[in-house]
């Protein structure tokens, strides 16, 4: 069914002089969409032509609308010779295809030429009239929204998070076609730009179709990448998380906004869900769902039986299937996970303190042409999910596992590209899972190529794929293999899902390393299917991150619904306390095949936690953190012999495990050196070059209050009898100890000493309960002496047995902390900083350096690489010194090896200023914090009774009222705990008035009573939270405020983060996904490589800004530069660069522009009309 695309060319300005004689230009414009072209009149002799054209109308079907870009070419008319092209503008009209986004694209666009760069600007207006399409078999997916943001976008509410979607399309690279030999570089570049634009459109459409099939309406965390495979072609692939999102009607406005939609929620016809099994009862209570009918699916048992790594999750205790299993995704065949190489792929289990001997286990296997290697970073695998289920196997726990598992099992890949989650979504985090595989790229033969060329429209060329028999299937199979591996690793960690999932490639000549990584996790099943968690989810949305909602309070606030919804009502797992629940191990502590130190959680003392936690996700908002975080990087070079084809692949795959191991060791050492115990946002990039491999891992280190204090680093010499050597060692040891002490001070890591008495603290109930509900082996429960000093005893030993090791230790100490006033992290928000001010500066820095030494060794290369990174960081700090105090957030390094010994590092990050004074103030209120904590602790106890009441309120959107109250309370100085109690009792009573929750009423008194009694006991135990990152209370207020949508459009902000500090995103206008090529044959004249790239990056920014402004937006969030491929040939005075960027165009409103409403507890309380009660805290 068609739509009508309308384009009007208004005017041009600052055009280049095309006629030397007159110093003027006779410009006209060609407007092309699909195969239709319109032209404007020639506007003679002007550099600022006013065309004011009619509306050019294209009648096209929506499939074409999705795939094709609008192509606008500005030309100089020449009577006697061919018209000269001035430049082009490609406009992606996708944002006009869904109703909630932009309605018109109108504005000045830079006219871009791949040889000359930006040459003037053109003013264009674009509109689309789309007719409704009821055709079920349509090929288009108009209306599916795409977001780069890896969390639920701010003005939306997630109704269902469906899960993983992926797709890839393949084509020949025009640059490598025979025709390229005879055409101009400009024509070749334009062919490439256009092709990639088409392929992105097609990819997006196909993913959209998958989403529609899943009954979703949006893709969140959409990540699209190009693989320039050279001779063998061009792959465009994308992954994302399918969701059903609901627009919050008056997002920008009122406090209790999150209450209203819950009603609609219930009306969502659940039978629409194509998956009739398991929780299909819709919004009914989870209790009803506990029909115990959850059985391992067929696919599931097959997998478990076939997987020789013994990952079976013990279906034994579960009853046999009662219903036929219907797969959620009929389109995707269930893959058995027993691809042969997996069997042998070794699990490198790196506990927190294993010695290198593990590396000897590593024996990657060459399989056909592909080599596959996998590794579990971290605390891997109790291995036996089965064991855990079986042994712990109280019926409830098993049930939960099965429930969630079965919910996820039906998915081919239970992966989520999200890195930030609604509270309560993440139950446990197991650790990082990653898989890599080395592949040889084959030349694609396109037998069908010629045939198609003849008789189809050009855009159909993309359908080569379908003719070109095996190509996409090959790439698909490669990725499927890797994903399967990831999935099985997650299982080995006792987890059924992978979050913070991402994929990447590194290509050098014909060798390609495919990498995938994520964080194994146990999720709350209810978020995946039910529409019942909207309260939480939505809360999440309106809450969104960073500047106003970090810290422990968040956890507390969320805690109640979380525990009630997820755990307690399901009646299975012991409710995980906020802020530490996700740290608790998902695997079985009694059955660990590798040495790892488990202790009781330092926060709740009920569950086991590992001593170190690595993840790829952002720090959960509810996490309790001590002090501040910091960017931690591991950097590594490995020389490799130049080789061809298979030999090359083999040598690479042989090196990989060692690199992974070393990267991991470095991370661990650096983490300890900073006195921290967890990494978030871990991203390990392995880059392959002609003669070396490089590894760069970035993560944000933090001290999680729930995990034990890390031990120091102990250096052990090999020849203890040598006196000078000893001296040297002890000198080094001292240096290390000093560094640790200094770092602790710098990052304000002073975890409180835990009083001994906690062991005897009066919290009998939970213990009983845990006995009741968890048939954990008694022995583990009776380990009552919490080994508090354990962390200190357990120093990490570095053995120095050769010069290499010495070097390593030295290099550990060379990391210079950022200058004062600076912090850096690679996550969205900096743990421990919360009072952001609105000033931001996004930047991209690129460096290419020659790591040249005459006889390069791994050590010298390492050092050079290390220096390169450190210098780059230093230079960033210097550049941004005027913004101090500020934090570099989302620091994203990418490494490429364009040539022998040439290393290219590109960094994109955003510097955000914060208010130091406010920070101090916030820190002053630790007592309040602890009191609040205390109150939470009560609730924890209290949710047991609530469980019993089998609260029918499956959905409990809680109002932000409470937070505001808390904010208010800490301002007024009224003891927070009291206020909290007050406010929540207030909301309870309100809740009581609503008929559905009458039954709850009686509990209220009881709860309050208990809360008060228990609090006394638990305060002490929670003083450890003093340093937990406090909330920027002030910011909370803005949420109570209606928005006005006046904004200045002239300035477009860009940020890699999903939010803008001090501002509120009121509308998402669509995804920005742009690909540019720039080439020059006069490199020297353009200021050399630096001048060339500097100008190009500035041009890319300018074009992104112009597109956003034309959509009516004033910012790009979740901006990312996915690719920056730079090639030069100085001898020929030539250079070429390809840049691919993406992000979400948004409209934001400054908080200061929002009128402030008085924050009153009474108004903050939820509306009585809301059907769902307000069960906060």
């Amino acid at each position: 069914m068609p739509g009508k695309l309308k384009v009007k060319i208004v005017a041009g300005r600052h055009l280049p002089v095309m006629d030397r004689a007159s110093d003027l230009t006779d410009a006209f414009v060609e407007v092309k969409f699909g195969n239709t072209t319109f032209k404007t009149d020639v506007y003679p002799k002007s550099l600022n032509p006013q065309w004011n054209s009619e509306w050019f109308k294209f009648e096209v079907d929506d499939e074409e609308l999705q795939d094709e870009p609008l192509q606008i070419t500005v030309l100089d008319h020449d009577t006697y010779s061919a018209n000269d092209a001035i430049g082009k503008v490609y406009i992606d009209i996708d944002p006009l295809l869904y109703s909630e986004a932009a309605t018109v694209i109108s504005g000045w666009f830079p006219i871009y030429d791949t040889i000359h760069g930006i040459r003037g600007e053109i003013n264009v207006v674009v509109k689309v009239d789309l007719f409704n399409d009821l055709n079920r078999f349509r090929q288009s997916s108009c209306g599916v929204k795409f977001f780069c943001t890896t969390s639920i976008p701010k003005c939306y509410r997630a109704v269902i998070i469906h899960g993983f979607v992926e797709e890839l399309v393949v084509n020949e690279d025009p640059e490598y076609q025979w025709i390229d030999r005879i055409r101009t570089p400009r024509a070749s570049n334009e062919a490439r730009q256009r092709l990639i634009s088409l392929m992105s459109g097609e990819l997006q459409r196909k993913i959209g179709l998958k989403v529609l099939e899943m009954r979703g309406n949006a893709v969140v965390g959409y990540l699209q990448c190009f693989d320039l495979e050279g001779e063998s072609g061009l792959v465009v692939r994308a992954i994302g998380t399918a969701c059903t999102l609901d627009k919050l009607s008056n997002t920008s406005a009122f406090l209790p906004a999150c209450n209203s939609p819950s009603k609609e929620m219930k009306e969502i016809p659940f039978n629409e869900d194509p998956n009739p099994n398991t929780y299909s009862s819709g919004p009914s209570t989870p209790l009803k769902n506990q029909t115990y009918s959850f059985s391992p699916s067929k696919s599931y048992s097959r997998q478990s039986s076939s997987s020789d790594t013994d990952l079976s999750l013990t279906p034994k205790t579960a009853p046999s299937p009662q219903r036929p299993r219907i797969f959620l995704f009929p389109s995707s065949p269930t893959l058995s996970c027993d691809s042969p190489h997996l069997k042998k792929s070794c699990l490198l289990l790196l506990g927190s303190s294993i010695k290198p001997l593990h590396s000897s286990h590593v024996s990657p296997v060459v399989l056909r042409k592909s080599v596959s290697f996998t590794e579990e970073l971290l605390l891997a695998a109790s291995g036996m999910g089965s064991g855990s289920a079986g042994k712990e196997g109280g019926p409830f726990k098993t049930l939960l596992r099965q429930q969630t598992q079965s919910a996820l099992e039906q998915r081919e890949f239970p992966f989520f590209t999200l890195t930030t989650f609604p509270p309560g979504f993440l139950v446990h985090v197991g650790g990082v899972v990653s898989a890599r595989s080395v592949k040889l790229l084959d030349r694609i033969h396109n037998p069908a190529f010629v045939g198609i060329m003849g008789n189809t429209r050009s855009y159909k060329l993309l359908d080569w794929n379908s003719f070109n028999s095996d190509e996409p299937e090959t790439r698909d199979a490669w990725w499927a293999e890797i994903r399967q591996e990831i999935k099985s690793h997650a299982k080995a960690l006792g987890c059924h899902a992978v979050v913070g999932y991402s994929e990447s490639t590194s290509i050098c000549e014909e060798v390609c390393i495919l990498s995938a990584s994520g964080t194994a996790a146990v999720l709350n099943p209810r978020f995946l299917q039910d529409g019942t968690m909207e309260g939480c989810l939505e809360q999440r949305l309106s809450w969104q991150p960073g500047f106003f909602s970090i810290g422990s309070e968040k956890g507390e606030v969320d805690f109640f619904p979380q525990s009630q919804d997820s755990s307690s009502l399901l009646g299975i797992e012991e409710a995980s306390p906020p802020g530490c629940g996700f740290c608790h191990i998902p695997y079985d502590e009694l059955n660990m095949p590798f040495p790892a130190h488990l202790t009781y959680c330092y926060n709740c003392r009920k569950q086991k936690v590992p001593d170190v936690l690595f993840t790829t996700i952002d720090l959960p908002v509810e996490a309790i953190v001590v002090g501040k975080g910091c960017l931690i990087q591991a950097r590594l070079c490995r020389l490799k012999k130049k080789a061809q084809a298979e030999a090359n692949a083999t040598s690479i795959s042989n090196l990989l495990p060692f690199m992974e191991y070393e990267v991991h060791t470095q991370l661990m050492n650096k983490l300890k050196l900073r006195g921290m115990n967890a990494l978030f946002g871990l991203r390990i990039q392995i880059t392959v070059g002609e003669n070396m491999l490089m590894g760069l891992a970035s993560a944000t280190g933090v001290y999680l209050a729930a995990l034990p204090t890390p031990g120091g680093i102990q250096i052990a010499g090999k020849t203890p009898n040598d006196a000078t050597y000893d001296q040297h060692i002890s000198h080094m040891q001292k240096k290390i100890n000093d560094t640790i002490a200094k770092n602790k001070e710098l990052y304000e890591i002073n975890p409180p000493e835990l009083p001994e008495e906690i062991i005897g603290s009066p919290i009998p109930e939970p213990r009983q309960r845990s006995r009741l509900l968890r048939s954990q082996s008694e022995s583990s429960d009776e380990v009552t002496e919490l080994d508090l000093s354990h962390g200190k005893k357990d120093a990490f030993v570095l053995e120095i047995d050769d010069t290499d090791a010495m070097e390593d230790v030295h290099s550990l100490l060379t990391d210079v902390p950022p200058p004062s006033g600076f912090y850096s992290c690679n996550t969205e928000i900096m743990p421990g900083i919360n009072n952001w001010t609105p000033e931001i500066q996004m930047f991209t820095a690129v460096r290419v350096s020659r790591l040249s030494t005459i006889n390069p060794t791994n050590q010298t290369l390492n050092k050079n690489f290390n220096d390169l990174c450190e210098n780059l960081l230093k230079s960033l700090y210097f550049k941004l010194r005027s913004m101090v105090p500020c934090c570099l957030c989302h620091v994203n390094f990418t490494v490429a090896l364009p040539e022998d010994e040439l290393v290219q590092i590109a960094v994109t990050a955003v510097a955000i200023t914060y208010d130091k004074n406010q920070a101090l103030q916030a820190n002053k209120a630790p007592t309040e914090k602890s009191q609040q904590r205390a109150s939470t602790d009560n609730e924890e106890q209290l949710q047991f009774p609530l469980e019993l009441c089998s609260d029918p309120l499956s959905s409990q959107p809680f109002s932000p009222a409470k937070e505001v109250l808390e904010g208010a309370s800490s301002h007024t100085g009224i003891p927070a705990a009291q206020r909290v109690l007050k406010s929540h009792s207030g909301s309870w009573f309100r809740a009581g008035t609503s008929p559905e929750i009458d039954r709850c009423n009686s509990w209220i008194e009881l709860i309050k009573l208990k809360a008060q009694t228990i609090r006394r006991g638990s305060i002490k135990t929670t003083t450890s939270l003093e340093k937990a990152s406090p909330l920027a209370e002030g910011y909370l207020r803005h949420r109570s405020v209606p928005s006005c949508t006046n904004s200045t459009v002239s300035v477009v902000k860009m940020t890699p983060l999903s939010f803008l500090p001090g501002a509120k995103i009121t509308k998402y206008l669509g995804i920005i996904n742009m690909f540019f090529i720039r080439e020059t044959t006069s490199l020297r004249e353009e200021g050399g490589v630096s001048g060339f790239l500097h100008a190009f990056i500035a041009e890319v920014f300018a074009m992104v800004r112009a597109h956003v402004a034309a959509l009516g937006g004033n910012a790009v969030v979740s901006y990312i530069m996915k690719q920056c491929v730079f090639m030069e040939n100085p001898n020929k005075n030539q250079a070429q660069c390809l840049i691919n960027v993406s992000g979400d165009a948004v409209i934001f409103v400054r908080e200061s522009e929002l009128e402030m409403l008085p924050v009153q507890p009474s108004t903050a309380a939820p509306q009585p009309t809301s059907s769902a009660g307000d069960v906060t805290t």
């Binding site: 820095a845 350096s849 390169l868 230079s875 210097f878 630096s1090 001048g1091 500097h1094 990056i1097 500035a1098």
Partner: protein, 351 residues
């Protein structure tokens, strides 16, 4: 380990005022780095020379890219390539077009030709302004001159509109080619001349009459940089004031009676009145001839300022005298003429 390529691009273009200054002054990257080092930035920020070099190069590249836009300031406001807050843009333009007064003083009244540009080496040596900076400033003068040459309407406004700044004095001087280089005039600074130019444009130019120029009038076609021909022609009529002895005596008695007892140099005034009056009137009368126009300031200094100075007139005396001298006659043309002359003389009457 060398960095072949090293760039930093911010979404908001970073402008370091110090580096901009250094760039404008025409220092090379190496010189700029050396100067920054001497400024103690290393100690303050605890960074390395390499970082400083990289930073300086980045800024220089940015400025070079910006320079093209700075040549047409309104384009800087419209361009999309660099996102620069308005106040920063204003600063960029102001600094770019700011000139060293010493240099401007040298160039005042000279023809902005290639020949003059070749002499810049000397000028640079004399004024201590870097040669690259001299050339840039010279080019600025020329660019502004060229841009407004063919425009109608008030000169100052035109320049303001095109270059977002006040550049009128220089263009006015370049246009009228007043002699400013004579030894006699050395005591006058650029600021003095600029103020004079402003008064002259303010009182004498077409726009100053407060009515839109009649498009049919011959002067409407003239650029504003030139003084209106009709006005200059009219000034000849004033000569009668000094040529007619009766008028001159009448004028003298009116002024003297008004000033008696009010100024300390009354006797000198009485003695010199005729000479002064002749000088003041003749300066105007000569303005019609291009060759005589050159001598405008020389005449004022030689025939008015120097005699007064030798008689030890105080500035107050001069002011009082000029006020009454003007007020003694009621004629629009006379008042218009004398307003600028008075302003110029008062500005120029110093050591």
């Amino acid at each position: 380990m060398s960095s072949d390529l090293d760039v930093f691009v911010g979404n908001t273009t970073l402008i370091d005022e110090e580096v901009y200054r250094l760039w404008l002054d025409g220092h090379s990257v190496a010189e700029a780095v050396a100067r920054r080092l001497r400024g103690g930035v290393l100690e303050r920020e605890g960074t390395s020379v390499a970082v400083l070099q990289s930073d300086t190069r980045d800024h220089y590249r940015t400025f070079q890219m910006l320079e093209r836009l700075l040549h047409a300031p309104p384009r800087l406001l419209q361009q999309l390539l660099f996102q620069i807050p308005p106040e920063r843009q204003a600063l960029l333009v102001q600094r770019y077009y700011a000139f060293d007064e010493a240099l401007a003083r040298e160039l005042l009244g000279k023809k902005l030709s290639k020949g003059t540009k070749k002499e810049l080496d000397e000028v640079s040596a004399r004024t201590g302004v870097g040669i690259r900076s001299c050339r840039r400033q010279f080019d600025n003068f020329k660019r502004v001159f060229k841009a407004v040459e063919e425009l109608r309407g008030p000169l100052a406004e035109n320049i303001q509109q095109l270059f977002l700044l006040d550049y009128a004095a220089i263009v006015f001087f370049a246009n009228s080619r007043f002699e400013t280089g004579k030894r006699r005039l050395q005591f006058l600074s650029f600021a003095d001349f600029a103020a004079c130019a402003q008064s002259m444009m303010g009182h004498w130019s077409q726009g100053a009459l407060g009515e839109p120029p009649d498009p049919r009038a011959p002067e409407a076609a003239e650029p504003d940089g030139d003084l209106p021909k009709s006005f200059l022609q009219d000034l000849k009529e004033l000569k009668v004031l000094v040529a007619d002895k009766d008028l001159l005596d009448q004028h003298k008695s009116l002024v003297c009676s008004a000033l008696r007892g009010k100024i300390s140099v009354y006797n000198e005034l009485e003695a010199n009145f005729k000479a002064l009056s002749r000088a003041l009137v003749n300066v105007g009368g000569k303005l019609t001839h291009a060759r005589d126009v050159r001598d405008f300031f020389v005449d004022l200094v030689e025939k008015v300022i120097e005699p007064c100075r030798s008689d030890k007139w105080s500035p107050g005396d001069l002011r009082l005298f000029l006020t009454h001298y003007t007020a003694a006659r009621h004629q629009a043309l006379w008042e218009r003429y004398m307003a600028a002359i008075t302003a110029c003389l008062l500005r120029m009457y110093h050591d």
